[in-house]
Symmetry: C2
Subunit: 110 residues, 2 copies
DNA sequence: TTATAATATTGCAATATTACGATAATAAAA
DNA sequence: TTTTATTATCGTAATATTGCAATATTATAA
């Protein structure tokens, strides 16, 4: 019926999928990339940087924030966003576990 | 208009988003998890393992395969799927780069 | 050849995502 | 208070995703 069967999967599987989904858009990858290039916790010249309208950028930022990948703090009339590494670490640990598990079993499939 | 502006982003950003998108569903995370628990390159008792209909599982497998995250080889009348680590490694390297970059600049934003 | 088993594809309904114009909300500056 | 700058929200159109029944395909087995 088009609705993800969230209840059929484990909490961990859903959490990982949420983190992955938040990052799974080129605009959001671009936002992360941009946040890494600026020395200071820059606000939204992200809008100037990306070829997207302000509401679109705002929506992408909201999704990243909801997923806990970035955090924002109010700074005068602008908002200072930066990456929150916790979820990135969770994701990296998952990938590490996958790679370790593959190494150990060393499948020959194909 | 609802269509992702792929051409507005770099090849790398789009590639990363594609890998992330392929993994960004609890059913597909569950498939990966299952593939890791079976010693051999198991085929599709994935259908028996997951609470999803066979066509749905088949579609998820197709997406994982298209993204290069799993590979499948024909084995009689069944198909043997297993994880292809290349894309996982690309993803981990990206996360490493993010974490390294955060460490270096050490932002105070918050 | 005719089952049978394992996967894939098609078609469709339900829902989610993406993008943006218009507009609202918030807060400093004049 | 009025302006201005920054960000968020609403509404909506276009498109994508999810899930499955029905059916097709493929390949072994009988």
């Amino acid at each position: 019926m088009g609705i993800t069967k969230t209840e059929s999967f484990t909490t961990q599987q859903n959490e990982l999928a949420n983190i992955l989904k938040a990052l799974a858009h080129p605009a959001r990858v671009a936002i992360i990339d941009y946040l890494l290039t600026v020395d200071e916790c820059i606000c939204s010249d992200i809008v100037n940087e990306l070829p997207l309208a302000q509401p679109t950028v705002s929506q992408h930022l909201k999704e990243l924030k909801n997923a806990g990948i970035i955090k924002g703090s109010i700074d005068g009339k602008s908002i200072c966003y930066c990456i929150d590494e916790k979820k990135i670490i969770i994701l990296r640990e998952y990938l590490d576990a996958i790679l370790l598990s593959i190494k150990q079993t060393d499948k020959i499939c194909q």
